[in-house]
């Protein structure tokens, strides 16, 4: 019965039921709100980026190779989650899970780099949340993004764990689809973080 149903999944299984449609739309709106949330943090950062309080400056602190690697990790994870979405739409459950696992692993690697980076800044440079207004803004903005990555990894781990044996149907498809949207959104935020925080921090 299930196999038969599966072969007949509609073209957009994530939006085939009213429940799926609601989740899809509600999640997009949530991302619209998140846009304003991150924009507020970006604005705060830009307002305070030169408020170093006599401490280390962004130009002295940031190392581009590290940021570049982190960016590549996250960009690639965005691609792998697109592959997962495409597998979802063509009803290849195993393939989708595979790509999501890769996505989560890349996310973990990114998170590891970020933890290393923060640790490095705090211990080598004394650059903390309390040391200057710029420090406060830096850790809040980048840290909020990191918290989103962490939440995303927990989310997808839970989804995979829960639905591994259930397979794809109109009930699970929206769940996976929303995660993919979320992950792309995190990537969008990172694009602006590496541009506004790191690259502009190097330019001065």
């Amino acid at each position: 019965m299930r196999a038969e149903e599966m072969s007949k999944l509609p073209a957009n299984p994530e939006r085939a039921t009213l429940d799926g449609k609601n989740k899809f739309l509600g999640f997009w709106f949530f991302l619209g709100g998140e846009t304003v949330l991150f924009a507020s943090l970006f604005g705060v950062y830009l307002g305070l980026r030169n408020a170093t309080n006599g401490g280390v400056t962004s130009n002295e602190l940031f190392e581009l190779p590290l940021v570049f690697i982190a960016t590549m990790l996250l960009l690639t994870s965005s691609l792998t989650s697109v592959f997962a979405t495409m597998a979802l739409k063509t009803n290849h459950f195993k393939r989708m899970i595979g790509w999501f696992v890769v996505t989560a692993l890349l996310g973990l690697a990114f998170l590891g780099l970020e933890i290393y980076e923060f640790n490095h800044y705090v211990h080598e440079y004394g650059h903390t949340m309390q040391s200057s207004a710029w420090g406060s803004a830096f850790y809040t903005l980048v840290g909020t993004h990191g918290a989103h990555v962490t939440a995303g990894i927990i989310w997808i781990a839970l989804l995979i764990f829960r639905n591994m044996r259930r397979g794809m149907d109109l009930y699970t498809a929206p769940k996976f689809y929303l995660f993919a949207l979320y992950w792309h959104f995190i990537d969008v935020v990172w694009i602006f973080i590496f541009t506004v925080v790191y690259l502009m921090g190097k330019v001065g």
Binding site: A11, T35, L64, F68, M86, D187, T195, L199
Partner: protein, 114 residues
């Protein structure tokens, strides 16, 4: 929504026909995604190179990398998040009004302080 409803009522024959269409569409999309990804990698590298090199003036670099980030945003939204697909008009409203408010926020917090 409309795509789904229309596929639901088609006959077996049409169904297989549609499946082939889907397959072709997906292969096309796959290629598009790969191309988008390569473009994004290229754009990212461009931004890093612009900052790392001393050949370009600072003020121009800032504008340049902001434009590049804007292009990447469009790629993410329209290619990876499928905003161009059917049934995305409300999501588009949501995200673009968010971007509008976000823009005013950033301008205010960055520029309208002393």
């Amino acid at each position: 929504m409309s795509t789904h409803e229309s596929t639901e009522h088609v006959s077996e024959h049409d169904q297989s026909h549609l499946d082939i269409h889907h397959k072709i569409a997906h292969e096309k999309e796959f290629k598009q995604q790969i191309v988008s990804f390569i473009m994004m990698i290229f754009i990212t590298m461009l931004a890093f190179v612009a900052v790392a090199s001393d050949a370009i003036s600072d003020s121009f670099t800032v504008i340049f990398i902001m434009i590049l980030a804007g292009i990447q945003l469009v790629f993410q939204l329209y290619m990876f998040m499928h905003l161009s697909h059917k049934g995305h008009q409300y999501p588009a409203w949501g995200i673009f009004f968010g971007v509008f408010v976000a823009g005013t926020c950033v301008v205010a917090l960055m520029g309208m302080i002393w």
